[in-house]
Symmetry: C2
Subunit: 256 residues, 2 copies
């Protein structure tokens, strides 16, 4: 039943090398190893080297350029990852000026948070977490209300300034964390009066509620979040069908 699992050890090693180097070693656009280099270094044939590369190309990690070489495509991945955590990029992409208000920033014991969340984060009651609440604005208009718990051990030195800015940058930069992805559940909900007031819409307005758990590259939970997106400002796009392209659903600021 294995469809595309590459047992090819060359693929495995190159894959690890690329994915573990999210924060360093390879920049987007860098030349990658050539087929001939790989075949020599790993003592495999060029065909096998090509096959390993082809898999990585189809996963979007590399790009073939005939007659030139194979190149790293960190930009796309970066974009995907950034958009997981960072509202900033999405807003810019929609041509809006992003800003942020840090409404809550404190450290607390895991025993004080919801059991369900603590379990999702695989924490013991005496572990610690960061609690953040941020209101995010596009062109001064509040559009996202975000509540997030971060596993403290991953980023013990998180500062208020970092928390108010790009969390993605703070995590992947100084703390050297490699974010792998997130599991999301998207629901349609009504905003409570408090939420509505913060988002400056009338009470009981529709909104997207995204509950997500983010993971590091070695599959350890890194954060839990519940984020509310103003329904009148956000829409999700997806392209379904047998063509498994590189465009999963993603929230976008409306551009009307």
């Amino acid at each position: 039943m294995d469809t595309s699992i590459q047992r090819n050890p060359v693929y495995q090693q190159l894959n690890d090398r690329l994915r573990s180097a999210l924060a360093a070693e390879y920049q987007s656009g860098d030349r990658f190893l050539t087929e001939r280099e790989i075949s020599e270094k790993f003592q495999v044939s060029r065909a096998t080297a090509n096959k390993a590369l082809a898999s990585l190309v189809s996963e979007g990690l590399l790009e073939f350029r005939r007659g030139i070489g194979t190149f790293v495509r960190r930009d796309l991945i970066d974009y995907d990852l950034r958009s997981l955590v960072s509202f900033t990029e999405k807003a810019k992409a929609a041509g809006k000026k992003p800003s942020s208000t840090l409404r809550e920033f404190r450290e607390l014991e895991a025993e004080k948070i919801d059991d369900e969340i603590r379990e999702a984060l695989e924490l013991n009651p005496d572990d610690r977490v960061w609690e953040l609440e941020r209101l995010r604005l596009a062109d001064g208009l509040p559009v996202i209300l975000e509540h997030r718990y971060l596993v403290h051990s991953f980023c013990p030195k998180l500062t208020r300034t970092q928390a108010a800015g790009s969390l993605y940058q703070a995590l992947t930069g100084p703390h050297g964390i490699e974010i792998a992805g997130a599991d999301e559940v998207i629901r349609a909900v009504l905003l409570s009066r408090g939420e509505a007031s913060l988002l400056e819409v009338s009470s009981r307005s529709p909104a997207f509620e995204v509950t997500a758990v983010g993971y590091t590259r070695d599959a350890r939970p890194l954060w839990w979040e519940r984020t509310l997106y103003r329904g009148d400002q956000y829409e999700f796009h997806s392209r379904l069908g047998p063509v498994r392209s590189a465009t999963p659903a993603r929230g976008q600021l409306r551009q009307h």
Copy 2:
């Protein structure tokens, strides 16, 4: 900038053959052509044949079994496609008994429908469309309200019975249409009084509004739909990150 576009003509032909045969020729689990057959038939090397097959495997269309052969995986694709059009499968998957009420079923001129929709369907004013409105129930509970326009020329002989049942089956079966996918936009909205009453929720309840255009394999628009999902019954899941797996976002009936 082409990441994984296969210029390989063998890949192209095999791909066409597999995708166009969604309704016939290949059953799930069937043996596909062997590398040696392909290399002979297309006058290419076995390595090239393997590369073409490997691409199709990574797309989920085929499955390699070492020492045995290559096999067709129609089931997965079918499932994806069915879930595009067919509420029935999703409901069954959630362990609910699906049923349906056909509230509207008529033929009308394209000039009478919204300009935006007519353009999305690439129709002239004197073309014809089917208009359908269906209320879909899970275990007797109304959960989806669906409004759909179908391009008449694709399925001129659509019957009321077919429209009330599985549209996917009616389109891909008798009419031999090959559905390729759909572009969707998902919004969070409030239900109008009429919609809420049909879905048996209180007025101004939250809901997902999915607006989608479905396409045939040759990229011609086949339908336009606006579908409302009860917010208290549906949630969307997605797994984001650099691992481009085969799990795009898809609405699911909650199973609480």
